[in-house]
Point group: D2
Chain length 351, copies 4
Amino acid sequence: MLKAAIVGATGYTGEELVRILIGHPQVKITSLSAKIDKPLPISELCPDFKGKVDLVCKGFDLDEVAGDSELVFLAVPHGVAVKLAPSLLEKGKIVIDLSADFRLKDVSLYPKHYGFSHEAPKLLGEAVYGLPEIYRQDLKKANLIANPGCFPTSVILGILPLAKKNLLDKSSPIFVDAKTGLTGAGREAVLDFLASEAEENVRAYKVTRHQHQVEMEQILAEAGGGAVCQLVFVPHLIPIQRGILSTIYLQLQNEKEEKEIWQIFKNFYRDEPFVQVLELEHFPETKSVRMGNFCQIGLRRRGKVVVVIAAIDNLVKGAAGQAVQNMNIRFGFPEDMGLGVNSKFKHQNAK
Amino acid sequence: MLKAAIVGATGYTGEELVRILIGHPQVKITSLSAKIDKPLPISELCPDFKGKVDLVCKGFDLDEVAGDSELVFLAVPHGVAVKLAPSLLEKGKIVIDLSADFRLKDVSLYPKHYGFSHEAPKLLGEAVYGLPEIYRQDLKKANLIANPGCFPTSVILGILPLAKKNLLDKSSPIFVDAKTGLTGAGREAVLDFLASEAEENVRAYKVTRHQHQVEMEQILAEAGGGAVCQLVFVPHLIPIQRGILSTIYLQLQNEKEEKEIWQIFKNFYRDEPFVQVLELEHFPETKSVRMGNFCQIGLRRRGKVVVVIAAIDNLVKGAAGQAVQNMNIRFGFPEDMGLGVNSKFKHQNAK
Amino acid sequence: MLKAAIVGATGYTGEELVRILIGHPQVKITSLSAKIDKPLPISELCPDFKGKVDLVCKGFDLDEVAGDSELVFLAVPHGVAVKLAPSLLEKGKIVIDLSADFRLKDVSLYPKHYGFSHEAPKLLGEAVYGLPEIYRQDLKKANLIANPGCFPTSVILGILPLAKKNLLDKSSPIFVDAKTGLTGAGREAVLDFLASEAEENVRAYKVTRHQHQVEMEQILAEAGGGAVCQLVFVPHLIPIQRGILSTIYLQLQNEKEEKEIWQIFKNFYRDEPFVQVLELEHFPETKSVRMGNFCQIGLRRRGKVVVVIAAIDNLVKGAAGQAVQNMNIRFGFPEDMGLGVNSKFKHQNAK
Amino acid sequence: MLKAAIVGATGYTGEELVRILIGHPQVKITSLSAKIDKPLPISELCPDFKGKVDLVCKGFDLDEVAGDSELVFLAVPHGVAVKLAPSLLEKGKIVIDLSADFRLKDVSLYPKHYGFSHEAPKLLGEAVYGLPEIYRQDLKKANLIANPGCFPTSVILGILPLAKKNLLDKSSPIFVDAKTGLTGAGREAVLDFLASEAEENVRAYKVTRHQHQVEMEQILAEAGGGAVCQLVFVPHLIPIQRGILSTIYLQLQNEKEEKEIWQIFKNFYRDEPFVQVLELEHFPETKSVRMGNFCQIGLRRRGKVVVVIAAIDNLVKGAAGQAVQNMNIRFGFPEDMGLGVNSKFKHQNAK
């Protein structure tokens, strides 16, 4: 049994990690910690765990977290992980960081987009970006995994097959109109996210200025073999609890048949356990991926324009599920272990 | 034109007062104030006022609020009104207080239920409880009006006809199961009321211990001619924005025909402009009273038991609308003026 | 592996059965059927099954359903199960019926409460009511299990310990104010349940006339050793998707300490895997039982009055989960198998 | 008093018309009709009208509708208005049609986009498109007004200033990502729009194939002086009741300062009573226009790209409110009469 610690267990992402890992046949949770004053059963902090999870969450203590764990998940705010990771790595722990602190390669972007000076720039070079669909081989031996942001996961997966094939018209911007549910804002008392404010309302925020945009641009440039299109990214807040739907407006260099474009996606993700390319005329909805680790993708063509729609659960494939997928890769477990696609199903499929 | 000031204009109740008064043909708003650092157009604080309300909200200043206003609405938290009202009354202003600070007659209840020692106990004797269906005559000459709580408004109106007629079995408790929307919790950043916490959830709170219970008991005892039944009051939080539905379980001394009970309600409220007794077999829903000043009541009998269901909009009949109704009574305007039942309608009705 | 068929797989209850059984280590689903025109992958009808469940749903055919299955779940509308069960039982199948068709003992109640004349009255005597907390021993050898209604499950569990101990004041009615989410209305196109009608709204329905009331009364009378109190049951529709919160207002013959009442509940459910009695001062919320098979119960006393609040997920403990719990009992599997409380957790608990 | 009839009074749009007109000082509703079996008080069909509107809704009868009305609003499904309008016009009535039946100039588009052959092609030439911001002068003398679609209203207003000035890069498509609430789907029992299906979900529909796209293209081409850009329109369904937020991605021929673009919008709509151009750095939300007739517009520039976000209430500026605005123009009333911007406010503004 792999011994794992979770730091930041009381946020939405941390809670989701607990939910998934408790059902993982090869993991034992050895430590739960969070910014709390005194130890409390996690089932008191997250009452749906009552009767399912009987672990105690404590205030953070480096030695205790490191303790006998082999793996530490950091589900902490941006700017905190960068302070914790170096010591954990020095102690020989594998770290999967769900914050943004090790996602960007260019250290100068941190002050601008995250408001802090990065204290461990060397680790930016060592960290592997935890999107298995691109970096699976590197992840197998990574000691520090930078788990992707929720928006980037859906957007990169929706653009990647065309970027890799160099089919995009680079003179045209890619417009990404994303819709996210309210857990994306985190478990913090903020007026704007009160139910009495956020329900019965839709609004854009950080229009073209969201910090995830540089993350997408970096990965797409790297994965797509250099320069890609300009991204114009506009996230919207939607009154649902979980889910991201990213509607992506692309332009190709040359017009292609819709079927042909679809086939490119289909082939590209053929062996991916968690990317589902829907049949033509079908588009994903957030409820179809709710509580699951899948990214569903649908597309339509109109002239040179391709509209790609990608849906994920922001807390699963957009955070905790993908972190577990990365853990599985890193420790040599079946990639879908503990992620809701059990062997019985695979067997029934095989019939 | 009556000159009115609103203190606490940026809470949900204050905002609703502005919404209603701006359309009132006999009122001019002379001052909006709130706990803010610098003056701001109210339309910036409440963006749906843009293009409709062009007033500036300032930090509270007694002289400025008193200024040339004749009437001051206090839409401030409990414990604050008690500090403001005395000075305003001394300056000769009429005060309509939407907090609980002048609702209870027994000063000893404040520390227990509201957590503060009442500094103006004499005013408790002078304040008139602003439920027109009981105290209309007193309200006509009141200088300090204690506007009722949202739950008490719906519950008292649902019990009153039977209490007045002395039909209740006083040995049986009255059970009140109330459901309220999320604006009832106020515009304050509290974790439990985040959309990501409160949506897709129903829960009871302050079970049998809500501070509104003593308010109901006091008024029902007074109005019902002395002792009434014990109340067992359990409020529930429901993921809607506006509305209260109170389901009241009563027992009569003697069994009566359903039709007869209904007739008692119908007669009792015959001349009330804002209480609607629905036909038998019909029950109110919160959406039927949304944004209106009506209390709708439906009932069913089963043996000696009567189930009464009362619905109001918590921000209108449960707060700002009733405050304006009280203002109309106090200043001799038609009681329904500015409350959505315009003269044209009455004329069309009269046809 | 137990071979199980599900009839009515496309309703909310049927879909939930599939969701649970697909993860059950001892069950193989051999047939999915529903009222559909042509066979379709269940993942097309319920798109969140895509990548998880690769079964085909067909139109109902008795021989095919019976086929090589040992167990048949009927998740069909009231009045349909009564037509299917006799043939299936004759063919030697075990039947777990999630409709109301075999819950009532008195055949004369069917025309009145369900609108049909019961064609298999003899089976009413043979059917065992599938509430393990009462009928566990009988369920072990039952061939026809009448899975309880969603409301009755929460209400009976909230009253049972006091009824069994004969502590209730039988001269006082028990008032049950229940709140249910919208999946309770089933997957049928009905105007009143449109999001544009049912959101931002709360309403009572079938006030004191809901068909589940006789079911509760029957079971409580039987379990409580004869006559019990009159029930006054008022269900309310709440804009959530899943969940029932039943607030129960009881009166005791003799006043007792709150702690003592709590201890009675605690003892009564000590060995129950799926009933959780919360600590005093704690009350359940629907989100705490969402997607789980637990019934959470909290209580408060005031004089002779006891307020009991019980929460379940209407589709799990209120339907499909309880059906699987019954299946586990009937076929000798661990009672919590496949219901989210895995052995690893129990082991971690045991540490 | 202008005598007005409403056909289709029980749909969401018809109900909203009643709500607005009942408060209009110059209108008397002389007839309400709908597809119903027997006459019913409108307050029974729409229970929030109880106590406010005392009119009876009848089954449609041409003579009765025409009766003594001067103006008829058609709030009927597409394909029905085309059958009713000719007779009403012959009888000398002014007709404001809220369906799509007279919006398109090219009669051949009807079979393709609306599924019927148009029987009154001549009227397509006579009808005036009811967007006052473009066609105010023509509306003053129009006998048949084709009230715009909800999406087109928000989208055309968001693009118009740049199209008119010929600033758009015509070689680049305009991408429109629209989000609409659930009343947009109409008051019809459809499975997909059940609360239990549509809540906690976001999805695109009619991707690039929505019938409103040709309407936008026609008007923009006409208003923008001929050819405009290709539109790529993707509507999304969002779990709110009212509101449309259209996020529009445009490209300019030549880069301009953000401030300069904003000034173009500001100047263009300077005298418009119902279009509000927000300050830079501000963007609209649907709740800011809820229940009002305003279209709020915000924008941001990034290189040659301009992101314009436009919000309306789909039932008001997107339907009934705009219809009343058109009525005001046609009959010479102040354009904002009865639309929530009363003279007192204007006076208070003027101070």
